[in-house]
């Protein structure tokens, strides 16, 4: 988690790690991310982590499909960099073209290690439609593993869509992370005894399918 002194402590994924520099990719949502976005070089933030269980693929025989919605793309550069696989394709959907950026900014080498399919909801770039719609045009039998990162309705859609396939299906959830160390309980996964901050954020679809059907407890207290 990233502590913005006297403002907030925010769970952020590591977007990339290199030469003792940790990179974050984040979207301005409220006061915390806004303040963070205005900080300058030399200003101080606090770091707690890494928390939870990292998720990477480590099998050269597997083909991986990543589907990211919006800022859900944040952890993907690091995920690609650290994973081993046969093939990796990324479907990245955003609302407008302006939200897109070059995923290789942290490390040019990862450029050759994946293929990218873009989708915009306003049809300004790439496929015209949501990431989920783009997914439906992809032959799932080409893949062994699917990882979805993004808004909860998208995750739910992905889990339902692949339900009757043989894919190993994972989703990176978001719940309200307040302590990050398994004590406060605010990050719990509904209808399960899992905690996102310790057991997650990545879960198998079947572990969280009930949770996905319910109100996101990012908003519960």
């Amino acid at each position: 988690m990233v502590w913005v002194p006297r403002v907030d402590e925010i769970p952020l994924s590591i977007a990339f790690l290199d030469n003792n520099i940790i990179y974050f990719l984040f979207k301005v949502k409220g006061l915390g991310t806004e303040t963070l976005s205005k900080m300058c070089k030399g200003e101080i933030v606090g770091l707690k982590g890494p928390l939870g269980r990292g998720f990477i693929v480590e099998d050269y025989t597997k083909s991986v499909l990543v589907i990211a919605g919006g800022i859900g793309i944040a952890p993907i550069p690091f995920f690609i960099y650290r994973s081993k696989y046969k093939k990796l394709d990324v479907v990245w959907g955003v609302k407008r073209r302006e939200e897109l950026f070059d995923l290789n900014i942290f490390n040019q080498d990862i450029g050759d290690r994946y293929r990218l399919f873009m989708a915009t909801e306003d049809c300004s770039y790439g496929f015209c439609g949501t990431a989920l719609e783009r997914l439906k045009n992809i032959p799932l039998e080409d893949y062994d593993i699917i990882l979805a990162v993004g808004p909860q309705p998208m995750l739910k859609g992905v889990c339902e869509y692949i339900r009757n396939t043989n894919l190993e299906a994972y989703v990176a959830l978001e719940t309200m992370v307040k302590c990050g160390i398994g004590l406060c309980g605010s990050c719990f996964i509904r209808s399960s005894n899992k905690l996102l901050c310790i057991d997650g954020p990545v879960f198998r679809c079947d572990e969280v399918i009930q949770h996905l059907g319910k109100t996101n407890n990012s908003k519960n207290i």
Binding site: M1, W3, P5, R6, D8, E9, I10, I44, G46, K48, V177, K178, C179, G180, I181, G182, L183, C184, G185, S186, F188, I189, R190, S191, S192, N193, K194, L195, I221
Partner: protein, 301 residues
């Protein structure tokens, strides 16, 4: 050999969680049960839902232990029904921790716990960092008496009073018992501050927080020892229990059961198992058959 009875509640072993570690949602209860605890304690519940503070709310300290100011975040008394139901599903005793700003609020939540057949209530008279809800009540033995008395007179299930470190903690304990408490939980966290030396600012959003974990253990043992010496009450020892040795110290000082909070942060199942297993091996080593016979033994010097 580890069976124990505290505040009339029978436990298969002496280890429960401390209030505030999970315990606000149905899902938390089943998770706590999976840790292997002999009873579960809910987060402190207030009549109405409370939002609590913004993060940072819990921070690990470089000098050991944790500091927290969660701000008694909880969904309000209506959640008690589902928490008790869930515990009953696993046939595990459940103690509802209660917070309030005055006698009426305590009673209001206690009645809810009583109606739903919780096994006991634990009155949190000692939260060191939430204004109006905590130490203000616990440091004054008169207040302790009146809150405990009010609750005891209203409900049928046993009442446990949770007290913190204060100058007159023994007196407060005596008053709680006099008012009809069946047991005492000792102690809560100790008021503290952690300052970040780079940003030059207190780290917790609330500035003040409660210190927990190993740092407070020798202080908690002292309070258990003092209160047991004067009252021989049923005591649940709490504060810095992280392994069987720290648990055994509590028992020797006079505790019949113990609660574990901070230590559940890492590998909670193993921690609980280690304490439970360690305690039985310890009893064998010291040649004692029943844990009840070890309670308060350190007083024979």
């Amino acid at each position: 050999m580890l069976e124990t009875v505290v505040a009339t509640i029978s436990l298969r072993h002496p280890v429960m969680n401390a209030s505030g570690i999970l315990g606000t949602h149905r899902e938390h209860i089943s998770r706590l049960v999976s840790y292997g605890l002999a009873a579960v304690v809910t987060k402190t519940i207030t009549p109405e839902p409370r939002e609590g503070y913004n993060p940072p709310i819990i921070v690990e300290l470089p000098t050991g232990g944790l500091i927290n100011a969660v701000g008694l975040e909880n969904p309000g008394k209506n959640v008690i029904k589902e928490l008790v139901e869930e515990a009953k599903k696993y046939s595990i005793p459940i103690i509802v921790s209660i917070g309030g700003r005055n006698e009426d609020e305590f009673i209001e939540v206690a009645v809810e716990a009583d109606m739903n057949k919780a096994d006991a209530v634990e009155l949190n008279l000692s939260c060191p960092h939430t204004k109006g809800y905590g130490v203000e009540i616990g440091v004054d033995p008169k207040n302790v008496y009146s809150v405990v008395k009010a609750v005891v007179s209203t409900i049928k299930i046993p009442v446990v009073a949770k007290l913190g470190l204060s100058d007159r903690v023994v007196e407060s304990a005596e008053k709680a018992l006099e008012a009809g408490a069946k047991g005492l939980t000792l102690i809560n966290t100790i008021k503290a501050i952690y300052i970040d030396v780079y940003s030059l600012k207190p780290v917790l959003t609330n500035i003040y927080g409660g210190l927990s974990g190993t740092p407070i253990h020798p202080i908690a043992v002292r309070i258990v020892y003092d209160v047991y010496k004067e009252t021989k009450a049923d005591i649940i020892g709490c504060g810095g229990v992280v392994n069987w040795q720290t648990a055994a110290e509590m028992i020797l000082a006079g505790a019949k059961a113990i609660q574990v909070g901070t230590a559940l942060m890492r590998d909670p199942k193993r921690i609980v198992e280690d304490i439970v297993k360690g305690l039985s091996e310890w009893l064998e080593t010291i040649g004692i058959k029943e844990i009840s016979q070890a309670v308060g033994l350190a007083h024979k010097v």
